[in-house]
Symmetry: C2
Subunit: 726 residues, 2 copies
């Protein structure tokens, strides 16, 4: 089902194998729709869909398919799609599950390429349903169909030249700039109902259910190219193809016309994931993986429906902030402090006003006003005072965002203040958000703010959280397009080496071979040589420089220490010579005289540095997942690690390093110099290229990667590579 | 102003010096009120207060005081309070700030003991106002008055036998069970307005402004004893007396009739605190201190006004949960997963149903229903199916909480479902919360739920977060009343020692004396002895056992290592003898022959263990603040520490240890045995008693306290005590 997740055919430029980009436009702007399973019985889905199409003002022609009825909603019924003497752009199927396969085939025979299968009774009900679903997917692939569903609510397009409500939701949503895709149909109906109370409208709406064919990635691309959609909302329980999702979402959020993607991904917790499995029959990945994927792709992951609407409200205003510096205008001290707290908590900054702003405020505000940020216009402020404060602050070059806070006091003219803020929105090039605290007492003011399309919140915390998310997204869109670093690596040599190890049946590669793999990809390694005799060992040690470490090397010798095959800190020729002979003897003694020995690995003894761990584990659904953490207890006990899907961009490598909690230890504490973070990032990018180019590598640990102070680099001290069994 | 924070007179039982417990009942149920500064001018505060009193249905008599008007709202005016021929229980003062002092004196002369000063122009406007405020406080103390304010909105009591609205808020709140106290007046008006939309009512309402006399602690005690108040909401920007607050709040939340305290404490962040200072002229403590105080006192600290109302909603239902096991009933899979995620995220657990419950559900639900938790009654469920599910689950002994989730689907009868849930609330002994997702489509259902007083939320996340807070509070109230441990310590000896050090002008106490202090309080110390000669040193070492550590000791020798005064790991008599002579010579060489030397400290060389840090720093406002953390980078670089105000209860000591992020390292990782946490808790309690009994100690660090495996104890390895300069 996943089209490229575990697919080895990733391009050398790291962009990943592209999924087929589907043209779904005929599905959203069909000239003709057949409703297969349309019904005259009120209260049924078969009745709701033709009714929603016709009452919703659909601009095309509806063909109800029902062999028993003559007409539905005044439209003449046909007994089957084959009886329609017209090309059918879209077929909506509402039949019982066992009858769906035949209907799909008939639609395909009739030349219809786009289908929405509303019917339930597939993957979500067990193996029999899953088989049914696989057969339908096979037909889609063979006949080149695009199918949404099964087990979904339908699709809606509010564009005035289409006005298609091919869903069984209660009514047509208000037209607007939000495109919504959802794996859960019930949530869609709730979201549409909430939206009514939020003055928010939708462009397109797709409930995609079991996504047997068209996936969230196809739908994201479709909304990205829709000129009526500015904001994408999505609800997903699992992502079919992590790699494709990251690529598509990154393009959408970071392209020339970036659109924010607000996502609820449920099944965050182990228990939640179990519920997801029983609901959609799909296996959800672990939550860390999803967090990593979302961050990497620039997707804004939200925790709740409330956050979803709070963010939709702020992103509905197209003005993007230039930075995080925020000014607060308030008519009350306490709420001003609450807004200040929230400002800092969510990662914004309080603006420090320019002198000219303070002078201007001083001239116009009463003497007891606080002229620092937050500006307190005092409880008796009328709209003129808000206007003066807005004028002054809008012109301040130290201000990126403006929040206007109004508490209803005895004489507060909330409607007039709403008007003033709305007018300011007309001339101000900075985002303005408003918070009118209260309910009935500020209702008129809130109404006025909505009419001017000023993002408006009842609580200062929600307003600040939304503003902060917008500021972060603005920064994301401004981040230079970070490239995938492409190193000049000897891919063929590694391929050959892995092939040989695999053929020899060695699932875990011994250190000597692992070092070779890393050498071919330009990792910084501890200087080493393989010595077959004591004389060679002495010569190698002299060349490498004392002190040295010696380790036995042979194709089957995995636990070197246990057989006396490791000696540390050897400081002269005599010790090396003695160690060589002693080691060979010990290993033969423990493993038998016929044990195959390649020789003894002579390595430079490393000076101490900070220990870090770089790892990769290949996920069946998502592909290679790269991990970074500090060595020892930080990774093992405190689970303080960061993840990204490979291939990673250069920026992502830096973000991975910086986003562990114990990053401070790499910055240098107690007077230590900072560690060489660029060298770690370089190693992460090399690792990314290595595992992307060699799908045969199933798991990999560099443990430890020793990190030295800034400018002194990193060294792979030990590593483990495990090959796929396939 | 703070009555006992920095007050050394803390009782030996650790309960702290009690503030005078004020009887504020006459203030809240006065038979007569003088409104000094009443006015006929509409739109003024002087007009709003008599108007609110009279139109609000106040049951007593109102005396407007205004020398220029004949009557206000039909009530005859008097020129001054002295002209009233009646006892005046409460005087409300609305005069300009400079006139307030005289009015307070006149009221006192007239026998009035309770005053509310609405007027602004005091501490919040600078030094002149602060002086005015101090003079008024002096009058209050001298004449035994209780004063609320200045700079406040007033007070309200909705009790039917009082019905007093002595505030200038817009109108009388609906009567209810919430008592609200707030440092910000403007926030109060907003809160009252929000409350209208939330079906919530208030018992008492106090805006306490600058709290020159009556503080949040007095008001908490007052609401605690009010039989009309079940829930306390508070908004504070600073707490005047941390110790008194902890004691009062602990009694209220953990007594025989516990009441939840929901608190917004602003000025969380450095920037927020700065705004607080400019607003109320008060210095706010650091946020960690406030978090510690709130946790210690059982106060539920919330981040936002929204959370405040969400929690008020759930606590309005008096049914308390027996545990965290939660059942979810839903008519849609997706929202069920969202609720499950939230359940786990906020620390609740999913119930595992008993077999009889599953059997009962199987019998009554359609075959495609999920009978596991969450129970999916399927999208076409009508109220009868909800009723059957509720009946089965309410009887399950594995269920502590029930959440009913409803999404509006085409046939969902929301009003009937609301009715069924409301009826279930009548017989169910477990908390039930409802979440109807949507707005217009579920309005009738929500109304029905409100009418049955079922806590109801629009989003599943808010519902779960509220439920989780209630479950935690229920656990807190059930925790056995943990005592302050009282050790048999030699308080007098320590007092004498500290006195001597202080008199000798030694601000930092040398190690030998610090060890004596700890010995008197029964801390586990490394065995030590002071040797004055080499022979004594050898004898002491033999008695203590090799290997030993030797450290020079003298009243002025603070930096022992710098003067060659420390030798480690001495393993025999000869080394000890040589070290003794060498050390004396080296110290005299570096510090001069006349340096005072007490001798050489001989200590047992400690086996390695885990290093922890115990500390205390005395805060001017809050008293002794105790800190715990792991040694080295964990405390210094990662700031991973926990705080509590001393005196601490035994439970708190355990919670302190468990609440650091790196606690896992004490549980034992990589096959290590767990550390001796009870011994750490014991040391924390001893430290608590030491610093409580000796206010002369300003700062103290035990760094490190070496911790051994469970049962093997802890040892104070090094310590530093700094005395107060007073």
């Amino acid at each position: 089902m996943a089209r490229s997740a575990a697919n080895p055919a990733v391009q050398a430029d790291g962009s990943g194998a592209q999924s087929r980009v589907r043209d779904l436009e005929p599905l959203f702007a069909p000239k003709s729709i057949a409703v297969i399973g349309a019904s005259r019985t009120p209260g049924t889905v078969g009745s709701a869909i033709p009714s929603n199409l016709i009452l919703g003002g659909y601009t095309g022609v509806v063909y109800p398919v029902n062999p028993k009825a003559k007409s539905i909603m005044g439209a003449r019924c046909v007994p089957s799609i084959s009886a329609i003497d017209d090309h059918v752009d879209l077929a909506v199927i509402i039949l019982p599950a066992p009858a769906v396969e035949k209907a799909v085939l008939e639609a395909a025979d009739h030349g219809t390429k786009h289908l929405v299968i509303i019917s339930a009774g597939f993957k979500e009900v067990g193996e029999e349903g899953a088989q049914r679903e696989r057969r339908i997917k096979a037909i889609a692939d063979e006949r080149g169909l695009s199918i949404i569903g099964p087990n979904c609510l339908g699709v809606i397009n509010t564009a005035p030249d289409v006005r298609m409500n091919a869903s069984f939701g209660r009514d047509m949503p208000r037209p607007g700039r939000i495109g919504l895709i959802s794996q859960s149909g019930a949530l869609c109906t709730a979201l549409l109902d909430y939206a009514k109370g939020h003055h928010l409208g939708f462009s397109r709406f797709i409930s995609f259910g079991n996504k047997c064919d068209v996936t969230e990635v196809d739908l994201l691309r479709c909304l990205a190219s829709d000129r009526n959609t500015d904001i994408i909302m999505m609800y997903v329980e699992d992502i079919s193809d992590g790699q494709a999702f990251v690529n598509a979402a990154y393009e959408i959020t970071h392209g020339s016309n970036p659109k924010p993607i607000l996502a609820i991904k449920t099944g965050r917790t182990p228990q939640g994931a179990a519920a997801a499995a029983s609901h959609t029959g799909s296996m959800a990945g672990s939550d860390e993986v999803y967090d990593a994927i979302m961050t990497q792709a620039g997707v804004i992951r939200v925790e709740s429906v409330e956050d979803l609407f709070d963010l939709a409200e702020i992103f509905s205003d197209p003005v993007m902030p230039a930075g995080r510096r925020t000014a607060i205008i308030t008519n009350a001290g306490g709420p001003g402090i609450m807004a200040t707290d929230a400002c800092i908590r969510y990662g914004l900054q309080l603006s420090k006003f320019a002198d000219y702003t303070i002078k201007s405020l001083k001239f116009q505000m009463p003497p007891t006003s606080s002229l620092k940020n937050p500006v307190d216009v005092i409880g008796d402020a009328r709209h003129d005072r808000y206007r003066a404060a807005l004028d002054a602050i809008a012109a301040d070059e130290n201000v990126d965002n403006i929040m206007v806070l109004v508490t209803p006091q005895s004489m507060t003219p909330d409607a007039e203040i709403g008007q003033v803020v709305g007018e300011a929105k007309g001339f101000c090039t900075k985002p303005i958000v408003a918070c009118m605290m209260g309910a009935a007492d500020v209702a008129e003011g809130v109404e006025k703010l909505h009419s001017y399309k000023v993002p408006t919140y009842p609580f200062p915390e929600n307003a600040m959280r939304a503003l902060a998310a917008k500021a972060r997204f603005a920064e994301w869109t401004r981040t230079p397009h970070s490239r995938f670093v492409q190193y000049d690596a000897d891919k063929a040599a590694v391929e050959k080496l892995l092939e040989e190890e695999f053929k020899a049946g060695r699932k875990q590669i011994v250190e000597l071979k692992a070092l070779e793999v890393f050498r071919h990809y330009g990792f910084s390694l501890v200087p080493y040589a393989l010595a077959k005799t004591a004389d060679e060992a002495v010569a190698a040690a002299a060349k490498i420089g004392y002190p040295v470490v010696m380790k036995i090397s042979g194709p089957k010798i995995l636990h070197k220490t246990d057989v006396g095959g490791v000696k540390l800190n050897l400081r002269d020729e005599a010790s090396v010579r003695a160690a060589f002979d002693g080691m060979i003897a010990s290993v033969k003694d423990k493993m038998g005289d016929d044990v195959e020995i390649w020789g003894v690995l002579i390595q430079k003894m490393l000076p101490p540095g900070k220990e870090t761990i770089l790892g990769m584990s290949r996920d069946e659904r998502f592909g290679p997942l790269i991990m970074f953490g500090l060595g020892g207890i930080y990774t093992e006990a405190l689970k303080d690690v960061s993840f990204r899907l490979a291939p990673i961009r250069e920026n992502s490598a830096y973000v991975m390093v910086r986003s562990i909690r114990s990053y401070k230890l790499l910055e240098g504490v107690r007077g230590e110099p900072p560690s060489d973070v660029p060298a770690i990032a370089d190693a992460l990018c090399r690792l990314s290229q290595l595992v992307t180019e060699h799908p045969r590598i199933k798991e990999l640990d560099i443990n430890p990667l020793i990190v030295y102070p800034q400018g002194k680099g990193v060294v792979v001290a030990d590593a483990r590579i495990i090959l796929s069994e396939k």
